[in-house]
Symmetry: C2
Subunit: 385 residues, 2 copies
């Protein structure tokens, strides 16, 4: 590998149901926080920006041009990257490559999504068209129904229970209550999850994350300049990215997201670590079942034992592998393009020792798991203090 790359600045807006500002202002709020966080960095020293977002949620096309202008990032290069919900970590991977190759020294990755401009029905229509519009979407699957199918398969094959799914939300809400940028900051009981209304059986309302407005910003820098910008750079030591068929009909298994499994294996290999060496992780818990699948795809436990892992409390702070100590998507909300960057922010804070009441002791190695669509794009990053 050519050069080492670190995260030197992190920022995030609150994730809300309706932000009430334009996308350029949303992006600015996350960018400003990351710029302040980087301490010793001006906009002119940012060599390039990457805008991560899924199109068609707001009316502005090609938002990179608009946002770079508003943020004072002209004439530096800018462009958009999209991998649905994995857009911002795919953007970070590309930023890593642009820096590692020597083309740039400092790159800002800004993920955003403003979902509140659409009605719920319009959002569902957009999500449908994120599947194969010829051979699959016409039959009506939605994101909840895709994940309900995965949940049912896991229940059938491994005996995972709805209570175990609910325990994921309980943990999420515990940590969400400590995160002032999360959409949901109230603790939720297993009983409340189990009795919430059925969305797509076996998933109930509280098994599902919520659409949101929000933005995140991750500033990356080469080893040449990282320490000058931030005295605690957090190094990216592993990167994995893989795909699986867009259509679920084309998948070999419904009890694993193979794109994430493949990405994890690449990332572990590149970082030269074993899964058990990870001290703290953020995973893509768009639904409770997704977190259980992530435990297994990341080899935090053997296949089929994800339900037991949460039941035994091993993914709480103090457990074997604390997961989603910021409340995850279930509590934070899920503004598609911003999500990966928000997860990275939490891991960076953990590795810097800035995580307050949710701090994992002596966290040295962190992992971010980010999935696009119902398992089309799987992205895994490993970060190190």
């Amino acid at each position: 590998m050519a050069r080492n790359v670190a995260v030197v600045g992190i920022g995030q807006t609150s994730f809300t149901r309706a932000c009430g500002v334009s996308i350029r202002e949303l992006a600015f709020d996350a960018f400003k926080e990351a710029l302040d966080d980087a301490r010793n960095l001006g906009t002119k020293e940012i060599d390039a920006s990457i805008i991560a977002s899924a199109p068609e949620y707001d009316k502005q096309r090609s938002p990179a041009g608009l946002i770079a202008e508003y943020l004072g990032l002209n004439p530096q290069p800018t462009f958009c990257i999209e991998a649905i919900c994995a857009s911002s970590t795919v953007g970070i991977r590309n930023a890593w490559a642009l820096i590692s190759s020597g083309l740039h020294d400092v790159v800002a990755v800004i993920g955003f999504q403003k979902m509140s401009e659409l009605t719920s029905a319009e959002s569902q229509e957009r999500m449908l068209r994120g599947g194969d519009i010829v051979w699959e979407s016409p039959f009506g699957p939605t994101m909840p129904s895709y994940y309900a199918m995965l949940a049912q398969a896991h229940i059938n094959k491994f005996g995972t229970t709805e209570e175990q799914l609910a325990l994921v939300r309980k943990k999420s809400s515990r940590y969400g209550a400590t995160n002032h940028k999360a959409m949901f900051q109230k603790e939720v009981t297993v009983e409340q999850v189990l009795t919430s209304k059925v969305i797509s059986s076996p998933l109930k309302l509280f098994d599902c994350c919520s659409n949101a407005d929000g933005a995140s910003c991750t500033i990356l820098a080469s080893d040449k300049v990282a320490r000058k910008i931030n005295d605690t750079p957090i190094w990216i030591t592993g990167l994995g990215l893989a795909s699986a068929s867009m259509s679920l009909a084309g998948r070999d298994t419904y009890t694993s997201l193979t794109c994430a499994r493949n990405a994890a294996q690449q990332a572990y290999k590149m970082a030269k670590i074993k899964p058990k060496e990870v001290d703290v992780a953020q995973v893509h818990d768009c639904f409770t079942i997704a977190e259980i699948l992530a435990y297994e795809d990341l080899d935090f436990c053997p296949r089929g034992e994800g339900g037991k892992l949460i039941q035994n409390g091993e993914t709480y702070v103090g457990g074997k592998i604390p997961v989603n100590t910021d409340g995850g998507l279930l509590s934070k909300g899920h503004p598609i393009g911003a999500t990966g960057g928000s997860h990275v922010r939490t891991i960076v804070r953990q590795l810097r020792g800035e995580a307050g009441s949710t701090q994992v002791n002596n966290a040295e190695i962190g992992l971010v798991h980010n999935v696009g669509g119902a398992g089309i794009y799987g992205s895994v990053l490993i970060l190190r203090r």
Copy 2:
């Protein structure tokens, strides 16, 4: 720089008014041709794919997942890149970085656009939303009117004439007549251009390129494997990318696209060459004035003398710097996401000596100039035999 990167495979569909196939089939046709061109390469040896396209022209969202599945490129990484009309060369720049950094050895960049699903009015509406939808689009500028403004400024400042603009189309049509993949293959006279209907004064119908359906594919490889895949790899020695304000109100000048000028300077510096060393170039001639601006922004002639350069025939094969020897966008048509890759294909053929009746003698260094929007994104590549 970490590792050298070469183009080892090129492919392109015909650019047509209505292709009559789905986007996955369109992408397949370009990919298949590039795979055949690469001679010694199978899909399993392609480490990653990048899909370059502008959203909202067809209904499929996140086309990377769909296309990777159809092309047999799962489980390798895939994602979408967008910089409007510069999407595919920005994709190539990212592929370069992914390879140069050591993350991958072989990356396929597939650009496509299917514009025939929309009416002309719908297309205009999409293009409007590719400008600032709060502060500029509501006032009604279209792509032809943006470029008409640039043309008028050039006429006012430098005395460029409508005849000189027409000469660009005449040259384009001469070469378009030799390109069996071009939408327009008939020669056009200066008289025909000048008397075609006014679209946005001073631009007439024949000063404008046409929307199109089409796809292109560019396969890149590291120096480690390039010669095993193709015995005539064409090396990418210079890469430039820059931005300018999305809103034209924010620009310092209307007689230059500063994003392209900045990108050119970066690319020349990286390739360690002077503009006069370029043997053959493909420029983003979405309108006749755009080609004249490109001559100047690329320093093929002093500022203001682009009109004279075409008038003196210097951009024909045999002239000082042959430009758009495949007919350019004016003759080929302009399927946004595919365009940059199509230009790269022509330069690769020139540098390999495969350009037939339009071959530039002993072409060793080629340049591709690609612009997104009305000068928001400027991308320049320099290639070498």
